[in-house]
């Protein structure tokens, strides 16, 4: 799932979450956006939509790994936390594939 601002929507993108107007569904999950739908969305008071695809990461993979090490500093001796850290590292690496 990827969060994009309404200005960046392009025809062909597929909604991963429905767009609501009040409590009713305006466009459902799975809808392929066309020009008309996009221009109507732009006239509504909505800032973002969630579409298919992977989220663009705000920082590089190397930076993300450095931050991970910082969060786990002084915890290298704990085998359990080390294990969790490895799972998180794999998870983060997967976000950049």
């Amino acid at each position: 799932m990827r969060k994009v601002s309404i200005d960046q929507l392009e025809p062909g993108m597929v909604l991963e979450r429905p767009i609501l107007r009040g409590s009713t569904v305006f466009l459902g999950k799975g809808v392929v956006l066309g020009e008309t739908a996009i221009s109507r969305l732009r006239s509504m008071e909505i800032e973002h939509a969630f579409v298919e695809g992977s989220e663009e990461q705000p920082i590089s993979c190397d930076e993300a790994m450095t931050l991970l090490d910082e969060r786990f500093r002084n915890k290298e001796d704990d085998p359990l936390l080390k294990h969790i850290k490895n799972l998180v590292r794999e998870h983060i690496a997967g976000l950049y594939d």
Partner: protein, 277 residues
């Protein structure tokens, strides 16, 4: 060296939340309502429905990935029916402190929503009856931080600075300045507001889960959720560091590596949604 702040004084002050000028009036009204010995479903639902902004925030929350009923809940009474009285009460409190969290500790709201998501995910994996209630424990576990800031703004600034400068956890920094921590303060209020005991204990013992007596499982879930959310670096709740893990909690939950991968994947979705809630 300044004097440590006494625990009795803290408890009295915390519980007198309605008298505090810095507490927004909406939160005071909610606090007064929660203190009533018998709060009916109609009263709760009427209170929320009378405020369109609150209603829409709560409906957004229950229809988000954090609660797993995407776009199926259209009214407050429907939410109470599906999720339960205490869950909606907890959500009301959560969304009401949202602004305070945003204003005072950057990232605390994202961290809280992350914990709500992780806690619900673990509760479902463990086949708990009420995963949404456990999720509320995650959402509100750090509420004591907001309350401490409101009551002791100057002192809490020094605590935040100390945690930052010395690279210690906020929990440790609080212990050096106060006789009680955000965990105690949060649980005092949870009890005063008549929240269920599992919520009060999960808040009270989320850093010391081995001390919980009546809600070991929920407390372990919040403890582990807190660690996973920080490990992933979602939101910052006053300090960046991953806290110590209590092996008993981990053993109690018996999470497999695949379980942890699932939780991390759910967190990814929820993190991008949290900004919109």
């Amino acid at each position: 060296m300044t004097e440590r702040i006494d625990i009795r004084n803290m408890r009295t002050r915390t519980e007198a939340i309605n008298a505090l000028p810095t507490v927004p009036s909406a939160l005071k009204q909610i606090s007064a309502m929660f203190e009533k010995p018998r709060l009916s479903i109609d009263e709760l639902s009427g209170f929320i429905s009378g405020d369109p902004a609150l209603t829409s925030k709560i409906l957004k929350m229950v229809n988000s990935a954090a609660y797993g009923f995407p776009n199926r809940i259209s009214s407050i009474s429907h939410a109470i029916m599906l999720l339960g009285f205490n869950v909606v009460r907890g959500l009301l409190l959560g969304v009401s402190v949202f602004d305070l969290m945003q204003k005072n500790i950057a990232g605390l709201w994202e961290h809280s929503v992350g914990c709500a998501v992780a806690a619900r995910c673990i509760a479902q994996k463990k086949n708990l009856q009420e995963p949404e209630e456990v999720s509320i424990c995650g959402l509100l576990h750090d509420i004591g931080k907001v309350i401490l800031i409101l009551h002791y703004p100057r002192e809490y600034e020094t605590v935040l600075a100390k945690a930052r400068d010395e690279g210690i956890s906020l929990f440790e920094a609080e212990q050096s300045r106060f006789e009680a921590t955000h965990a105690d303060v949060g649980s005092w209020l949870a009890r005063k507001w008549r929240f269920p005991v599992n919520l009060a204990e999960a808040i009270e013992y989320h850093h010391t889960p081995h001390l919980s007596r009546q809600a070991k499982l929920e407390t372990a879930i919040v403890h582990v959720s807190d660690i996973l959310v920080r490990a992933r670096g979602i939101g910052i709740n006053g300090d960046m560091l991953v806290p110590d893990i209590h092996p008993e909690s981990w053993t109690l939950l018996q999470l497999t590596d695949d379980d942890v991968r699932d939780i991390l994947a759910e967190l990814e979705t929820a993190a991008s949604e949290a900004e919109d809630l």
